[in-house]
Symmetry: C2
Amino acid sequence: MSSDREFLGLTPAGTPGHYRFTVENHLARLDGRLYGGTAIAVSIAASELVSDRAALWMTTQFVSTAPAEEEIRVHAEVLAPGRRTNQVRVTGSDADGQVMFASLGATGHRRDDGLAGTFEHPPEVSTPDRSEPRGGPFAAMLRNAGVEAEVPMPRDVGFNRVVEFREPAVTSHPDPGPGRVCMWARRRDGAPVTPAILAFIADMVPLSVAHGCGVVAGGISLDNTIRIGSADPSEWVLVDLRAHLATGDYGHGAAHLWSESGALLATASQSASMIRFDLDDAPWNRS
Amino acid sequence: MSSDREFLGLTPAGTPGHYRFTVENHLARLDGRLYGGTAIAVSIAASELVSDRAALWMTTQFVSTAPAEEEIRVHAEVLAPGRRTNQVRVTGSDADGQVMFASLGATGHRRDDGLAGTFEHPPEVSTPDRSEPRGGPFAAMLRNAGVEAEVPMPRDVGFNRVVEFREPAVTSHPDPGPGRVCMWARRRDGAPVTPAILAFIADMVPLSVAHGCGVVAGGISLDNTIRIGSADPSEWVLVDLRAHLATGDYGHGAAHLWSESGALLATASQSASMIRFDLDDAPWNRS
């Protein structure tokens, strides 16, 4: 947990349950504004701190974006303090009290001898060291849509500063079809992933929806949801994106998050308002 | 929408965004207390009413249960009023202001010519009229766990009064394995399903987690989440349950909701605290 606090710059702000963090560049999108993955990661870290339990699930709703270097105030509350399970609410606001994101979730104590099992199947993919540093999920979407452009992911902007992507060869998939995208990801500093970092990384379902539709499109995330499974120390995480559907320019989908040894660390889901990119106006087509 | 209001007994309570409903027996669990599916259905109906838009996604967190015949006050707010998309919050409380459930979600206007597609695959199952009225998902879990008991679902208690279940023969499944349970469901009055009713019906992921573990267990739902797809008028809905994982007595999973003609109406997901039943103390073993 302390590695999460350091990664997110999350610091206590006086009264219990109150924290703050700053939208530093590594917590931002490519345009410097607050990255959705940061909001859910902060919500998970704050809920674990306030309840002294491990995160079980979290949904974060994006209400408004925050500019670069903005200080965000975080308020984490235990709504229902059970002996084993705590239902929590986390709210992120700016200095004027304007809500940036709103989260609901739970934390709890897992029983060592409790019910356990995994009922989903991982795709068969190449290991991270045999996978391609090809530009991440965005490049995969471009190729899928037939766009012949070399678009290197800028390593020095936004969350790409701290997360490295590699694209595996997929030799078999339990449920193949369009909208399936697999991507290895890790913290560039090599620290093992935590539930908060899994949520930080998983924020890319809209790309799989664009992949499914065979177009180049981005998504304005409406929310991120994550449900957390068994802990299995892993540096790399396989983000196994599975678009569900698109309708009327809204898209929904899921991501299964697998450890290097094939354990299901978490499953995520997300909805987004989709926006098709005007390729004539793409940066690589501008003179 | 008016059929939802009637089904849920949702009535305006003076000021805009304020509603109320009573925990009537058909909105309750078998023990007469507020059923989780009711809370998310009410949240969807109230968010559509307050925003005058169609529901896109909704997460409902269960904070405390409400007893039979309790009057619940519902407050629906638009947190971010976009031209196309509205981010909404819905809270259900009792007369003392004690929160029963808290919901986050969005509503929006779908574009007729917007991105569209379905990237998940339905199982092949028998039609509702060739499927068995065998007692619903609970009976399926018992059989799966090797329990030789005839446990008819009581037709006159709780949500069973208004929802009929039939168990199809599954001839092929796109992603087979333990934890897969398929069930046809419809309103007993034959009214076509709406997003609110889909959410009402989908609240049974814990049964698929028990099925995956091969045990008889129930779940205390922590939340219900639903992401809504294309409208396709359908009386019956195929609830295609897919458990994801269990760890330390917590379980997570999803449900795909298909129309009679095979359209993906919505995908749902849920987390629960699992409780193994003591079969020696089961009603059918008591003298």
